[in-house]
């Protein structure tokens, strides 16, 4: 049994940077990652902005050493996971039981879409090597092989809370003495499949998204990957550098209200936040920053806002949605935002909620609008709420 779980390393890639250092620069310069679609051909080009990683799949493949025919999801996953492991710099890692708990929602869909162009025209055509890693688990397997991790390798796919749940599950594996080290988080690449799906649901903003704003009109799709390296107390003692923080609280709940919407009262998110607080032994006023789920859709932000209003009862900590920078990276968002939460503690920074103008009418919430340095950030709550009502809150705390 390990009573505490420490964060020893972080790695991230998104539309605003290819590693942690680039992200910190983009945050400070308040530079959003949204742009016109260039990754694939679509009738939505020029109409819907997306937050794509600023590297082609071929360029990513040069970084990872994988074939460019391997899914972009895998490439992104490997880049961020490798950065997290290098950052953790665990002495003698082969001594320990190590797992990779990785999330994604699109799997190798980007390559499957290429396959189907030829296959639908003639079902004797289409390159099978484009669909061999179509399914979500295949992405994790390839990354685990590349990392040489084999003790526990598993994939979690619970829509937009996927990678928050990976971190949650990884912490439990360490606490229950199944693993000593876990690389946990997730990845997702932009695909036509998700773009068209979200467009069908009529929740994509044609402008850059405005989370928590009265005049928000939907989300921008993003892509990327984010991983943290979680370690047990035993491993933490062997580290040559001080761990960033602890994962002190986590909880998952489901309001089972609708396939793709939260209940108006935000019951699921309320339960996730209050139970994560309970688990961490913290009071609401101990939270120094909330990294919101804040997708920018009318439904999410009002449900999440309502739940926060109930949990924090008038004493609101600074809060912001970093999706105003990265877009909504779906299965990667929980991992990416976990990295941002850890960095907020480490550097004493709070990220602005870009493009916020007008407070939501019925809610007393006003996110942070300027990049803040020199803050005392001890406890950060990170929210990730997914389709199907799957709601997860994580709490990171100074160790």
């Amino acid at each position: 049994m390990s009573s505490a779980v420490y964060i020893a390393g972080v790695g991230v890639i998104s539309a605003i940077g290819n590693d942690v250092a680039e992200h910190l620069v983009s945050f400070e310069q308040e530079k959003a990652g949204m742009d016109a679609i260039t990754l694939f051909d679509t009738i939505h080009r020029g109409e819907l902005p997306v937050a794509a990683v600023k590297l082609t799949t071929r360029e990513l493949a040069e970084m990872t050493g994988l074939s460019p025919e391997i899914s972009r999801t895998t490439q992104l996953s490997l880049v961020a996971a490798k950065e997290a492991i290098a950052d953790a710099a665990i002495p003698d890692p082969s001594k320990w039981r190590t797992g990779l708990i990785s999330a994604n929602t699109v799997g190798g869909m980007d390559k499957s879409e290429d396959f189907f162009v030829d296959f639908l025209a003639d079902n004797n055509k289409g390159k099978l090597r484009f669909i061999w890693d179509h399914e979500c688990g295949s992405i994790t397997e390839t990354v685990a092989d590349q990392l040489g991790v084999s003790d526990v390798v598993t994939t979690i796919s619970t829509a937009c809370s996927s990678s928050a749940n990976s971190i949650f599950y990884a912490a439990r594996l360490i606490k229950n003495d199944v693993l000593d080290i876990a690389i946990a988080g997730g990845a997702d690449a932009l695909t036509k499949f998700t773009l068209n799906g979200f467009n069908t649901l009529m929740i994509l903003d044609k402008e850059f998204c405005k989370p928590f704003d009265e005049h928000r009109a939907g989300l921008n799709l993003g892509e990327g990957a984010g991983y943290v390296v979680l370690v047990s107390e035993k491993v933490a003692k062997t580290l040559t550098k001080v761990p960033y923080c602890k994962l002190s609280g986590y909880a998952n709940s489901n309001d089972a209200y609708h396939q793709t919407a939260s209940s108006p009262e935000g019951t699921g998110s309320y339960l996730a936040m209050t139970r994560a607080l309970e688990k961490s032994g913290l009071r609401p006023l101990d939270i120094d920053y909330i990294n919101l789920h804040g997708t920018g859709t009318p439904n999410n932000d009002s449900a999440e806002g309502t739940a926060i209003t109930r949990v924090f009862d008038g004493k609101f900590p600074p809060m912001s949605s970093t999706k105003s920078y990265t877009g909504h990276t779906l299965g990667a968002s929980g991992g990416i935002e976990a990295v941002f939460s850890v960095l907020a503690i480490k550097h004493g920074i709070i990220y602005p909620n870009l493009r916020f103008e007008t407070q939501m009418e019925d809610l007393p919430l006003k996110p942070v609008t300027k990049f803040l340095k020199g803050q005392k950030v001890r406890n950060v709550m990170s929210n990730s709420f997914g389709f199907g009502g799957n709601c997860t809150s994580l709490i990171f705390s100074t160790s």
Binding site: S94, R97, S138, A144, G148, D151, V152, G197, L201
Partner: protein
Amino acid sequence: MHCVSALHGEPRNRRGGTLQRRRLFGGRRDVSRLYDRWFHFTAFVLKGPYYISANCTISDGIISEDGAVLFKSATPINDFLLTAYQHFQFNYPKFYKMDNLSKLGWLTADLLLQNTFNKDGYKSEDVGIVIANANSSLDDDLKYYDTVADVASPSLFVYTLPNIVMGEISIRHRFKGEQAFFVQEAFNADFLYRQVSYLLDNDLVQACICGWVDVLRQDYRSVLFLVEKTKKGNAVLFSAESMDTIFNGGFE
């Protein structure tokens, strides 16, 4: 066969030796490999016996429960489902929003559970659902696809997955146990028997709703079984044979 939502006990997907796993981290034991072995082992050591406490069939304009006909109406499917809903005086406004697969499964489950099932006897987590069909959500997929040329319909889109029917049943009855949905060419009682027995044997659930819910345009057939660990009233032994007999219209 395609498994839409995995059963408990599938910790990893193995592709089978195409890549040699380098062991930079070189752990001492492969936990998931042991888990796999355990899973395959226990799958063949069946305990039981378990019992089918109730069954409900909706097919060819007829609704029957435990062999007794409850309702008949030889109308096209949309009308049939609505008339049945009204006939039993259900009051569940969300029913109107559902696709036909969910309506069919929802009605079958409600009638299956209305008399026999003691909901208070189980925790939410202790009731599982295992359903199979041949046409996945194709009925709704086609309707959705017809709207794409004009304005793609969000309300049809959210039903373009077969396992949504299990979600609708779960929301209605507050079930939170293990679930799986399988797409198979035909009703496979033996397969279903193994899946459900596994859940019950390992105490992953204490009761399970299982069976077949299939719709494509005007063709529909739904047969659900309530499987419990204790014998109640006219319950029959839970077995592949008894499910086959009921599925084929026996015990009438």
